[in-house]
Symmetry: C2
Subunit: 220 residues, 2 copies
DNA sequence: ATTACTAAGCAGCGAGTAA
DNA sequence: TTTACTCGCTGCTTAGTAA
């Protein structure tokens, strides 16, 4: 959606056009938007074309109401601003399901991790992790997360090797509860690993390439 | 502020740039905004020019943080969306102080009105109204108001004439409590009349031409 | 008064490229 | 890799104007 159309839609919404028809001329709208009458008129036509408003053209003025589609767009925008200012104890990611190469299963079966998961998270994970690939740029959000803490799982040693400490965050994937596991060290990876008492891939009917929505909840 | 700059600022904020420095290249930003690297770079320069972000240019990437000015712009935007979706029991106006021609005083001194004000609003108004001129286009908001009700003051007759019924709405002008009085009949006027137990013009140090913010609170 | 067309001008876009 | 310049081209804007 073009930014100037969004602005126009918001202006109409502020005049009450979400729930009522609003009487406004292209000239008046132009004044509100600080642009010309011609441009305002064109904006209204464009919004009409993409079915975000309905218009009743009279001989003078026009009655405008925002449609369901238009209201959805505004709500999405509103939710992003809430994300910025209100829900700073939540961090959201979009990503898509990918397969690991069995390392998830290997790690989630280590006694040293499992015992701590039981103690600190309250469950033993289903063997294996659900891997979600996120956009590289979202590592900025991951950095936020690491600063905020999370539930620490300590490192431990077996006779063969050392298993590094990890940070856990309560999260939801497509609204289903689970836990995100991030290696405490290591640089940023574009894969988020999800553990849960259940086999999430089956429970959520997910296959590789599916788009998912992840929301992480910060404790403090 | 140009709409596309606002969108860019919002995108940066979603990555956490309000409270943290965010590491991002113009190419990555371009991908987020679905535009070209050159355009993203130009956007960042423009935002920098108007002091809405600070940049630390490294040889790779850049560290970006939103400034106080930038955060203000985003908050204003957020507040408008709240207006649309949350505070639909509030209606806000901007306007400027104007002088009436003494009619306010004439009306607010009529026994027929004063007695009803005392009974239904709980105070006798200071004689005279504080008049605020609003943008003509905001009559759309006034129409919303009238549909929602308000406190009705009934018409009454003296031996000389009839005084029409009016609708009262609890409101704040520059955060100071008072009551907006709208004639029940009559077409839309671009003047809002404010009554209060106090002499508001003095209490708020207002003079003609001053910009004020009015918020009307709907009961139900 | 309106809305909205045409036409011309100009701002913004992005390919190419330098540093 | 980066950022950001130039410059040609596209598309948005607006003056003029018809209906």
């Amino acid at each position: 959606m073009k930014p100037y159309l969004l602005q126009t839609l918001k202006e109409l919404a502020l005049l009450g056009a979400v729930s009522n028809r609003v009487e406004i001329s292209s000239h008046e709208l132009a004044k509100q938007l600080e642009t010309s009458q011609q441009t305002a008129s064109r904006y209204l036509m464009e919004l009409d074309n993409v079915q975000m408003i309905t218009r009743e053209l009279g001989i003078k003025k026009q009655l405008i109401q925002i449609t369901g589609i238009g209201a959805e767009v505004l709500k999405e925008e509103y939710s992003q601003y809430r994300q910025i200012f209100e829900l700073s104890n939540r961090v959201a990611f979009r990503g898509k399901i990918v397969s690991g190469m069995g390392e998830g299963k290997y790690y989630t079966e280590q006694r040293g991790y499992v015992d701590q998961f039981k103690e600190k998270l309250g469950f033993a994970p289903y063997p294996g992790t659900l891997n979600v690939e996120i956009e590289y740029v979202e590592r900025n959000k991951l950095r936020l997360l690491k600063n905020y803490g999370g539930i620490a799982i300590d490192e431990f040693k077996t006779k063969n090797r050392t298993f590094g400490s990890v940070l856990c965050f309560n999260a939801k994937i497509n609204n289903c509860i689970g836990v995100i596991v991030l290696p405490k060290r290591s640089h940023y990876s574009n894969i988020l690993e999800f553990i849960s008492p259940h086999y999430l891939r089956e429970k959520l009917h997910l296959k590789d390439g599916d788009e998912v929505e992840i929301v992480i909840y910060l404790e403090k």
